[in-house]
């Protein structure tokens, strides 16, 4: 991609015009999840230099990676059972795209794939990564390899599951171009926003090719009492467990004392 950008930049030099540039900043460097967290909105502000009327802007916000297992339901003995697992390594737990126009109008799918934009491409990679991992350890599993059509159903399932929780979203007109080459994108973080590191990539597309890009990052983290409890539960699980039991016993005893006398 760098090579391509360099190439694009060198082509631009032939024209007596400044090389296009793009800059971006998020309204938050960290988003804190507190006890009243029910989702929030992030605004990404940006500026471009050399923006022309045909140029388009694409903003991608990508959350932390997670490993997934996707299973297809099969009916056996009359009930639906999870079967036929496919595994994925490093699927973003959050992924949203905002753009000035629908993506398919901005660039061909080949151009998007080349620049790693779009969830389908990431899923193909995540699946390949897992397959490589498995082959490194041992020979691939004995059950028959799924065909391309089958696999695309698994990819679609991951996207559906994410979309249900608003973790995967696309806003085809979510980027507003303001005066003087400034732009603004609104990105929604749903109630189930996972904690971790996020990166926002902004791309300036001209004639179906990215001619400039910039990335910025932020963190989503638990804060306040939520963080204290979470870290306690994971840092000292045994003491946490004992405390949970003690608290419950105390609550039961208090209830008996309060209501028992009447």
């Amino acid at each position: 991609m760098l090579l391509e950008l360099a190439l694009a930049a060198s082509l631009q030099q032939a024209v007596p015009q400044e090389a296009p540039q793009i800059m971006a900043a998020l309204t938050h460097e960290t988003v804190e999840i507190r006890e009243d967290f029910a989702g929030t909105e992030l605004i990404l502000y940006g500026a471009t230099r050399g923006l022309t009327i045909q140029d388009e802007i694409v903003v991608v916000l990508r959350g932390p990676d997670q490993d997934l297992r996707v299973m297809q339901k099969r009916r056996s003995f009359g009930i639906w059972v999870n079967a036929q697992a496919q595994e994925f390594d490093g699927v973003p737990a959050y992924y949203s795209i905002a753009s000035t126009r629908p993506l398919e109008e901005i660039a061909t799918s080949e151009a998007l794939i080349r620049n790693d934009i779009g969830l389908p491409q990431l899923l193909v990679q995540a699946y390949a990564d897992r397959l490589n991992d498995l082959e490194a350890i041992e020979a691939p599993a004995e059950d028959s390899e799924p065909t391309g059509a089958d696999l695309s159903e698994y990819f679609a399932a991951v996207q559906r599951a994410g979309a249900r929780e608003d973790l995967y979203s696309a806003a085809p007109r979510g980027v507003d171009v303001l005066d003087g080459g400034l732009f603004r994108a609104t990105l929604a973080l749903p109630p189930r926003t996972p904690v971790g590191n996020y990166t926002a990539e902004v791309y300036l597309f001209r004639e179906g090719r990215p001619i400039a890009s910039r990335s910025t990052s932020m963190r989503v983290e638990k804060a306040g009492i939520e963080r204290v409890i979470y870290e306690f539960a994971h840092g000292a699980p045994m003491i946490y467990g004992l405390l949970c039991v003690a608290l419950a016993m105390l609550a039961g005893y208090a209830a008996a004392a309060m209501f028992g006398r009447r």
Binding site: F37, Q66, R69, V158, Y240, V245, L247, A248, A251
Partner: protein
């Protein structure tokens, strides 16, 4: 008002949780059951991950059984020796159940096993309870002299009496083998870990019909065993799977304690047999709902699960 649960990692309405606690507490106070079999499916229904629902419900049952067990301890309507044996089996069962839970979660089959366990146990127990209470209601309508007909005489000898390692249980007035109590305890402990229930609905009938304990010590002894087994389950789930959400447990407990008081008062106005029949219908309704969900064609033919022990998505 939304509250973000730190371990379940979702945001839920606080009044929904308090109301759920109070509603299930009301029913459990009215019927004298733990209510875990209602609460765990409800928690999953509102979107709490199954692993967190099961572990957290075990924690709430600690609170709800503590006050009951305490009351029975004071009234001496509790057989500590029998409770101790049940507890030995229960502890082993709980440890086994938590391991099994982790293993099944790794396979991606935990939801199915939880549902299947619910359907089969609720179906059997609900069905038996319904038959029993309908018979009792019918009997009550019959003339006085025929009512006592089936009772009396010596207790029949069963295969239970043939087992070795016999022990005396003065409080229950029994002289039986230690194997059945330990086996029942183990079984109930495993259920507690997998289903997020106290297991009273299995243990009480088992104590009456298999161990033939006198009914006045059955409930107290059952609560005693449930208190310790759910306590151990909570501890194990917290230390091994980090799936106990203390905020969720406390909210449910606050609602549950208040609900149970009103439920207990409401229960006094209903006759025992009718109460049992009502409870049987409720158990069967939960069973049918869960069974229906297993059979009906799912809206999404795929499930996306996190890999490697992480909770959520």
């Amino acid at each position: 008002m939304q509250i973000y649960l730190p371990i379940a990692e979702i945001s839920v309405n606080i009044f929904l949780l308090l109301g759920l606690g109070a509603g299930v507490g009301f029913l459990s106070g009215m019927f004298g059951v733990g209510g875990g079999f209602l609460m765990t499916p409800m928690l999953m229904f509102i979107g709490i991950p199954p692993a967190v629902a099961v572990s957290t419900e075990a924690n709430q049952i600690v609170a709800s059984s503590a006050s009951g067990a305490l009351a029975h301890w004071r009234r001496r309507t509790l057989d500590p020796k029998m409770g101790g044996l049940l507890l030995i089996g229960g502890s082993a069962g709980s440890i086994f159940g938590v391991q099994l839970f982790s293993f099944l979660r790794g396979l991606g089959q935990i939801d199915l096993i939880i549902s299947l366990s619910y359907v089969s146990f609720l179906g059997i127990i609900g069905g038996l309870m319904l038959i029993e209470s309908v018979r009792a209601i019918m009997r009550r309508r019959q003339p006085e002299e025929r009512r006592e007909g089936g009772r009396g005489g010596h207790r029949k000898r069963t295969w239970i009496d043939a087992l070795p390692f016999k022990m005396r249980f003065p409080r229950s007035g029994l002289y039986i083998s230690v194997i059945p109590p330990i086996a029942i305890g183990f079984f109930v402990g495993t259920l507690a870990a997998i289903m997020g229930v106290g297991g009273g609905f299995v243990m009480v009938p088992a104590m009456i019909y298999i161990l033939r304990m006198p009914t006045n010590v059955v409930v107290g002894t059952s609560l005693f065993q449930i208190l310790f087994v759910t306590g151990l389950t909570t501890f194990l789930q917290a230390s091994q799977n980090q799936t106990v959400d203390v905020v969720l447990a406390m909210l449910l407990t606050v609602g549950g304690v208040v609900g149970a008081q009103f439920g207990a008062r409401a229960g006094r106005h209903v006759k025992g047999e009718e109460l049992r029949a009502l409870l049987a219908f409720m158990v069967l309704a939960v069973c049918l709902k869960l069974g229906w969900d297993l059979v009906v064609t799912p809206s999404d033919m795929f499930v996306v699960l996190p890999r490697g022990g992480e909770v959520g998505h």
